[in-house]
Protein backbone atom coordinates (compact mmCIF):
# COMPACT_ATOMS: atom_id res chain seq x y z
CA UNK A 1 0.00 0.00 0.00
CA UNK A 2 1.20 3.51 -0.79
CA UNK A 3 2.68 5.66 1.96
CA UNK A 4 2.32 9.30 0.82
CA UNK A 5 0.99 11.83 3.32
CA UNK A 6 -2.81 11.92 3.52
CA UNK A 7 -4.79 15.13 2.95
CA UNK A 8 -6.63 14.54 6.22
CA UNK A 9 -6.82 11.99 9.01
CA UNK A 10 -9.91 11.06 11.02
CA UNK A 11 -9.48 8.89 14.10
CA UNK A 12 -12.08 7.18 16.22
CA UNK A 13 -11.76 5.04 19.30
CA UNK A 14 -14.64 2.75 20.32
CA UNK A 15 -15.09 0.27 23.16
CA UNK A 16 -14.73 -3.34 21.98
CA UNK A 17 -18.43 -3.99 22.52
CA UNK A 18 -21.14 -4.89 19.95
CA UNK A 19 -23.27 -1.79 20.59
CA UNK A 20 -20.45 0.50 19.44
CA UNK A 21 -19.76 -1.07 16.05
CA UNK A 22 -22.67 0.97 14.68
CA UNK A 23 -20.88 4.13 15.84
CA UNK A 24 -17.82 3.18 13.78
CA UNK A 25 -20.04 2.52 10.77
CA UNK A 26 -21.69 5.92 11.11
CA UNK A 27 -18.32 7.64 11.31
CA UNK A 28 -16.92 5.88 8.26
CA UNK A 29 -20.14 6.67 6.39
CA UNK A 30 -19.49 10.35 7.10
CA UNK A 31 -15.87 10.15 6.00
CA UNK A 32 -16.49 8.19 2.79
CA UNK A 33 -19.51 10.33 1.85
CA UNK A 34 -17.26 13.40 1.74
CA UNK A 35 -15.10 11.77 -0.91
CA UNK A 36 -15.88 11.06 -4.55
CA UNK A 37 -17.15 7.55 -3.91
CA UNK A 38 -20.42 6.31 -5.39
CA UNK A 39 -23.29 5.34 -3.08
CA UNK A 40 -22.46 1.65 -3.54
CA UNK A 41 -18.77 2.23 -2.79
CA UNK A 42 -19.62 4.12 0.40
CA UNK A 43 -21.82 1.21 1.46
CA UNK A 44 -19.01 -1.25 0.64
CA UNK A 45 -16.57 0.69 2.84
CA UNK A 46 -19.13 0.90 5.65
CA UNK A 47 -19.70 -2.85 5.58
CA UNK A 48 -15.96 -3.64 5.39
CA UNK A 49 -15.15 -1.46 8.40
CA UNK A 50 -18.06 -2.97 10.33
CA UNK A 51 -16.73 -6.44 9.54
CA UNK A 52 -13.21 -5.53 10.66
CA UNK A 53 -14.58 -4.29 14.00
CA UNK A 54 -16.80 -7.35 14.37
CA UNK A 55 -13.81 -9.65 13.88
CA UNK A 56 -12.14 -7.89 16.82
CA UNK A 57 -15.23 -8.53 18.96
CA UNK A 58 -15.09 -12.23 18.08
CA UNK A 59 -11.64 -12.34 19.65
CA UNK A 60 -12.67 -10.14 22.58
CA UNK A 61 -15.55 -12.46 23.51
CA UNK A 62 -15.15 -13.87 27.00
CA UNK A 63 -12.44 -11.40 27.98
CA UNK A 64 -13.29 -9.26 30.98
CA UNK A 65 -11.72 -5.95 30.04
CA UNK A 66 -10.24 -5.12 26.66
CA UNK A 67 -8.53 -2.13 25.14
CA UNK A 68 -10.64 -0.09 22.71
CA UNK A 69 -10.67 -0.52 18.95
CA UNK A 70 -8.90 2.30 17.15
CA UNK A 71 -10.08 3.23 13.67
CA UNK A 72 -7.94 5.56 11.60
CA UNK A 73 -9.07 6.95 8.25
CA UNK A 74 -6.32 8.34 6.02
CA UNK A 75 -8.00 10.45 3.38
CA UNK A 76 -6.23 11.00 0.05
CA UNK A 77 -7.66 12.67 -3.04
CA UNK A 78 -7.73 9.37 -4.91
CA UNK A 79 -8.17 6.80 -2.13
CA UNK A 80 -9.23 6.07 1.41
CA UNK A 81 -7.11 3.93 3.71
CA UNK A 82 -8.81 2.67 6.86
CA UNK A 83 -6.78 1.08 9.65
CA UNK A 84 -8.48 -0.92 12.39
CA UNK A 85 -6.18 -1.61 15.32
CA UNK A 86 -6.72 -3.60 18.50
CA UNK A 87 -4.63 -5.27 21.19
CA UNK A 88 -6.73 -8.40 21.69
CA UNK A 89 -4.62 -11.55 21.24
CA UNK A 90 -5.12 -13.60 18.09
CA UNK A 91 -6.42 -17.12 18.68
CA UNK A 92 -3.82 -19.85 18.75
CA UNK A 93 -4.03 -21.74 15.51
CA UNK A 94 -1.99 -22.89 12.53
CA UNK A 95 0.07 -20.15 10.84
CA UNK A 96 -1.96 -18.26 8.23
CA UNK A 97 -1.36 -18.73 4.54
CA UNK A 98 1.59 -16.87 3.09
CA UNK A 99 0.78 -13.52 1.52
CA UNK A 100 -2.37 -12.83 3.51
CA UNK A 101 -1.30 -13.03 7.14
CA UNK A 102 -4.15 -13.40 9.57
CA UNK A 103 -6.94 -12.98 7.04
CA UNK A 104 -8.25 -16.51 7.55
CA UNK A 105 -9.37 -15.43 11.01
CA UNK A 106 -12.17 -13.36 9.51
CA UNK A 107 -13.98 -16.25 7.80
CA UNK A 108 -17.17 -14.92 6.21
CA UNK A 109 -16.45 -11.38 7.40
CA UNK A 110 -12.99 -11.63 5.88
CA UNK A 111 -14.44 -12.81 2.59
CA UNK A 112 -16.64 -9.72 2.52
CA UNK A 113 -13.77 -7.37 3.36
CA UNK A 114 -11.58 -8.78 0.61
CA UNK A 115 -14.38 -8.53 -1.96
CA UNK A 116 -15.54 -5.04 -0.97
CA UNK A 117 -12.16 -3.32 -0.64
CA UNK A 118 -9.44 -2.94 -3.27
CA UNK A 119 -6.49 -3.90 -1.06
CA UNK A 120 -6.46 -5.54 2.38
CA UNK A 121 -3.57 -6.48 4.63
CA UNK A 122 -3.26 -7.65 8.19
CA UNK A 123 -0.32 -7.70 10.56
CA UNK A 124 0.64 -8.13 14.19
CA UNK A 125 2.92 -5.55 15.78
CA UNK A 126 5.67 -7.48 17.56
CA UNK A 127 6.49 -4.81 20.15
CA UNK A 128 2.92 -4.17 21.31
CA UNK A 129 1.11 -7.36 20.29
CA UNK A 130 -1.45 -5.14 18.55
CA UNK A 131 -3.34 -6.43 15.55
CA UNK A 132 -3.75 -4.11 12.59
CA UNK A 133 -5.97 -4.44 9.53
CA UNK A 134 -5.48 -2.04 6.63
CA UNK A 135 -8.20 -1.62 4.03
CA UNK A 136 -7.81 0.53 0.95
CA UNK A 137 -10.42 1.74 -1.49
CA UNK A 138 -9.56 3.75 -4.58
CA UNK A 139 -11.81 6.49 -5.90
CA UNK A 140 -12.90 5.52 -9.42
CA UNK A 141 -11.19 7.71 -12.02
Amino acid sequence: MTTTQPDAVVELCIPARPEYVGVARLAILGVASRMRFSYDEVEDIRLAVGEACTSVLDRAEGQAETEPIRIRCLIHSDRLLVEVRDTIPLPEKAPPAEGEPGLDDFQLGGVLIRILMDEVSSEEERETGAHLVRMLKYVAR
Binding site: P18, Q107, V111, L112, L116
Partner: protein
Protein backbone atom coordinates in the same frame (compact mmCIF):
# COMPACT_ATOMS: atom_id res chain seq x y z
CA UNK B 1 -31.95 -0.75 19.38
CA UNK B 2 -31.80 -0.45 15.61
CA UNK B 3 -33.72 -3.59 14.74
CA UNK B 4 -37.39 -4.54 14.90
CA UNK B 5 -38.43 -8.19 14.70
CA UNK B 6 -42.11 -8.89 13.99
CA UNK B 7 -43.45 -12.40 13.45
CA UNK B 8 -46.74 -13.51 11.97
CA UNK B 9 -48.11 -16.97 11.27
CA UNK B 10 -50.22 -16.64 8.11
CA UNK B 11 -50.40 -20.41 7.47
CA UNK B 12 -50.26 -23.53 9.63
CA UNK B 13 -46.67 -24.31 10.52
CA UNK B 14 -45.39 -21.23 8.67
CA UNK B 15 -43.91 -18.16 10.30
CA UNK B 16 -42.96 -14.91 8.58
CA UNK B 17 -40.29 -13.00 10.48
CA UNK B 18 -40.15 -9.40 9.27
CA UNK B 19 -36.93 -7.57 10.10
CA UNK B 20 -36.63 -3.78 9.98
CA UNK B 21 -33.38 -1.93 10.49
CA UNK B 22 -29.82 -3.13 10.99
CA UNK B 23 -28.83 -6.78 11.47
CA UNK B 24 -25.33 -6.77 12.87
CA UNK B 25 -23.18 -8.15 15.69
CA UNK B 26 -25.30 -6.26 18.23
CA UNK B 27 -28.78 -7.09 16.98
CA UNK B 28 -28.40 -10.51 15.31
CA UNK B 29 -28.72 -12.47 18.60
CA UNK B 30 -32.37 -11.31 18.69
CA UNK B 31 -32.97 -12.76 15.23
CA UNK B 32 -31.30 -16.01 16.25
CA UNK B 33 -33.45 -16.24 19.39
CA UNK B 34 -36.63 -15.60 17.40
CA UNK B 35 -35.79 -18.37 14.92
CA UNK B 36 -34.87 -20.82 17.70
CA UNK B 37 -38.12 -20.00 19.56
CA UNK B 38 -40.19 -20.58 16.42
CA UNK B 39 -38.53 -23.93 15.74
CA UNK B 40 -39.08 -24.96 19.37
CA UNK B 41 -42.78 -24.12 18.94
CA UNK B 42 -42.94 -26.44 15.93
CA UNK B 43 -42.97 -23.68 13.33
CA UNK B 44 -40.39 -25.23 11.04
CA UNK B 45 -41.19 -23.43 7.82
CA UNK B 46 -39.80 -19.97 8.32
CA UNK B 47 -39.75 -17.04 5.94
CA UNK B 48 -37.46 -14.17 6.87
CA UNK B 49 -38.52 -10.91 5.26
CA UNK B 50 -35.49 -8.67 4.74
CA UNK B 51 -37.36 -6.07 2.68
CA UNK B 52 -36.87 -3.42 5.37
CA UNK B 53 -33.35 -4.43 6.36
CA UNK B 54 -31.00 -1.49 5.86
CA UNK B 55 -27.80 -3.23 6.86
CA UNK B 56 -26.76 -6.87 7.04
CA UNK B 57 -23.33 -8.12 8.08
CA UNK B 58 -21.61 -11.49 8.40
CA UNK B 59 -23.08 -12.17 11.85
CA UNK B 60 -26.57 -11.69 10.40
CA UNK B 61 -25.69 -14.01 7.53
CA UNK B 62 -24.39 -16.52 10.07
CA UNK B 63 -27.67 -16.43 11.98
CA UNK B 64 -29.66 -17.04 8.79
CA UNK B 65 -27.37 -19.92 7.77
CA UNK B 66 -27.71 -21.42 11.26
CA UNK B 67 -31.48 -21.00 11.10
CA UNK B 68 -31.65 -22.76 7.75
CA UNK B 69 -29.56 -25.64 9.12
CA UNK B 70 -31.72 -26.01 12.23
CA UNK B 71 -34.94 -25.82 10.20
CA UNK B 72 -33.75 -28.51 7.78
CA UNK B 73 -32.76 -30.75 10.69
CA UNK B 74 -36.46 -30.68 11.62
CA UNK B 75 -37.61 -31.29 8.04
CA UNK B 76 -38.43 -27.61 7.71
CA UNK B 77 -37.04 -24.77 5.68
CA UNK B 78 -35.96 -21.17 5.93
CA UNK B 79 -36.59 -18.92 2.96
CA UNK B 80 -35.89 -15.27 2.41
CA UNK B 81 -37.79 -12.35 0.97
CA UNK B 82 -35.37 -9.83 -0.44
CA UNK B 83 -35.91 -7.13 -3.02
CA UNK B 84 -33.34 -4.64 -1.80
CA UNK B 85 -30.48 -4.70 -4.35
CA UNK B 86 -27.95 -3.77 -1.69
CA UNK B 87 -28.88 -6.67 0.60
CA UNK B 88 -29.27 -9.04 -2.35
CA UNK B 89 -25.73 -8.17 -3.43
CA UNK B 90 -24.37 -9.36 -0.07
CA UNK B 91 -26.01 -12.75 -0.61
CA UNK B 92 -24.64 -12.84 -4.15
CA UNK B 93 -21.01 -11.96 -3.41
CA UNK B 94 -20.86 -14.48 -0.55
CA UNK B 95 -22.36 -17.21 -2.75
CA UNK B 96 -25.35 -17.61 -0.42
CA UNK B 97 -27.87 -17.25 -3.26
CA UNK B 98 -27.00 -20.89 -3.98
CA UNK B 99 -28.01 -21.93 -0.46
CA UNK B 100 -31.11 -19.84 0.21
CA UNK B 101 -34.36 -19.71 -1.71
CA UNK B 102 -34.85 -15.99 -2.16
CA UNK B 103 -38.22 -14.56 -3.12
CA UNK B 104 -39.19 -11.06 -4.19
CA UNK B 105 -42.48 -10.90 -2.27
CA UNK B 106 -44.28 -12.49 0.67
CA UNK B 107 -46.99 -13.83 -1.64
CA UNK B 108 -44.35 -15.62 -3.73
CA UNK B 109 -42.64 -17.04 -0.64
CA UNK B 110 -45.93 -18.28 0.86
CA UNK B 111 -46.87 -19.89 -2.42
CA UNK B 112 -43.53 -21.73 -2.43
CA UNK B 113 -44.02 -23.20 1.06
CA UNK B 114 -47.57 -24.45 0.45
Amino acid sequence: MNLRVETQTPQDGVAVVALSGEVDVYTSPRVKQEIVDLLNRGLTRIIVDTTKVEYLDSTGLGVLIGGLKRARERDGDLRLICNNPRILRIFEITGLTKIFDIHSSEAEALEAVR
